[in-house]
């Protein structure tokens, strides 16, 4: 999104409009695991969902609470799925005011509608009208998000796991201070030189966990600002490229 307010601390708070929310994440996981929307499917993907939330927590953003609410509900569903059949009958009374299955089914329809909107002939993207302003300054040129940010999150999540950060016990290491502005300059310079960068050229080996996260947030910002985009799915073939102006 385009906010024009001057930000004193550029990347401290990520504008995570770029993530669609916990239901979107759940639907994505359900789809990736080739499941349908049933309680059992949710029980199956609970662990995966929690892994993503762990990563999102690192970003320190406002909406994390919304992800936690769903996480709690998934935990409840999961524990109920582990109960033997007869006890399940007893606990069937829903104490929760969330009906995740219904929520997901309803949300899925609107997600489909948003795809339908994206496919329409859009004024300022697919079709244009006569402008009465010769410099065309007043016309809005639209661009609609097409890349799936969760793909990128997945790769970063896998990278962190790969480096076994999750197994590091809760010991406070000496905090490496990462200058976000400096790091952004570094990344921008890399793009100046090469135009196309493989994932592993930005997320180089031996990058600290904090640095990975900061770099990732910078990349998200740059994608959001339409400066760069990416293709590919895994660490091996994921590539970022500078967008034509």
């Amino acid at each position: 999104m385009e906010y024009s307010e001057s930000r004193v601390e550029p990347f401290d708070k990520v504008r995570l409009d770029i993530f669609e929310g916990p239901l979107d994440l759940l639907l994505t996981l359900i789809r990736e695991n080739d499941l349908d929307i049933y309680e059992l499917s949710l029980a199956k993907i609970t662990e995966q969902y929690l892994e993503y939330v762990e990563l999102l927590k690192e970003f320190d953003f406002d909406n994390i609470g919304d992800y936690m609410v769903i996480a709690a509900e998934l935990g409840r569903i999961k524990s109920r799925s582990l109960l033997p059949e007869e006890e399940k009958e007893e606990s069937i009374e829903d104490e929760s005011d969330l009906n995740l299955i219904e929520m997901l089914k309803e949300y899925k329809k609107y997600r489909a509608l948003s795809e339908n909107l994206n496919q329409r002939t859009i004024l300022g993207r697919d079709t244009f009208k006569k402008s009465f302003d010769n410099s065309l300054r007043t016309e809005t040129i639209w661009e609609l998000e097409t890349t799936d940010i969760w793909k990128l999150v997945t790769v970063v999540k896998n990278l962190l796991k790969l480096q076994r950060y999750s197994e590091i016990p809760d010991i406070e290491f000496e905090q490496e201070v990462i200058d976000q502005v400096q790091r952004r300059k570094e990344i921008e310079n890399l793009f100046q030189i090469k135009k196309k960068l493989k994932f592993t050229e930005i997320f180089v080996e031996n990058l600290s966990k904090d640095n990975i996260i900061v770099s990732f947030l910078i990349i998200l910002e740059m994608i959001n600002d339409s400066m760069i985009d990416f293709t590919g799915k895994d660490i091996g073939d994921l590539e970022f490229f500078i967008r034509e102006a």
Partner: protein, 181 residues
């Protein structure tokens, strides 16, 4: 002596926003039912000529717009940084379009996440607007889509959007298609 049809054509041509049949009929002091067949003839004529522009019926009115095949050329010519609408923004637009007038609470409930940032962007770009307050405690604002929304998404009326229930099995359909490929 100008042909009435050509007068209508000229009016559509110079209008910056889609001009309605009523505006045309009132200005030319003709009856709407005399105006309508003439406009339809115009639309057909432009369509048949296969030019780079034709008349579109959008947002309750008529407007000359370019053919989609010229989009790359025109984007290059305008050469301006595009305004990016996230998928989240499209979702909120869809919810407002279907549920309007609706409150932020209802939107958040469907999406399972706070939508304030996205809604501010949509308000700023005039794709949605505040149309009142709901008569419940706290009097939350009610939001609706705008004529600009219809114009941008090439809709004549809201009813042109597909029924939301049509999407009930959407995912399972695309999933099985993928499997077949």
């Amino acid at each position: 002596m100008h042909n009435l049809k050509r007068k209508i054509e000229a009016l559509i041509f110079i209008s910056e926003t889609p001009i309605t049949m009523k505006e045309i009929a009132t200005f030319l002091t003709i009856k709407i039912d005399k105006c309508e067949p003439l406009i339809n003839e115009l639309i057909d004529e432009w369509e048949k000529m296969k030019l780079s522009i034709k008349i579109h019926k959008v947002s309750g009115g008529y407007q000359f717009r370019t053919e989609e095949s010229y989009k790359d050329l025109l984007t290059q010519f305008i050469n301006k940084k595009p305004f990016k609408l996230s998928r989240a923004a499209l979702e909120v637009l869809g919810i407002v379009a279907k549920k309007q007038p609706t409150t932020k609470i209802e939107i958040d409930k469907i999406r399972g996440v706070d939508s304030i940032g996205v809604m501010n962007v949509l308000l700023e770009k005039e794709l949605i607007k505040i149309t009142g307050e709901k008569e419940v405690p706290g009097k939350p604002y009610l939001y609706s889509t705008t004529n600009e929304f219809l114009a941008v998404f090439s809709l004549d009326v809201l009813m042109d959007l597909p029924d939301i229930e049509e999407f009930d099995h959407y995912d399972s359909i695309t999933k099985s298609e993928e499997k077949n490929n």
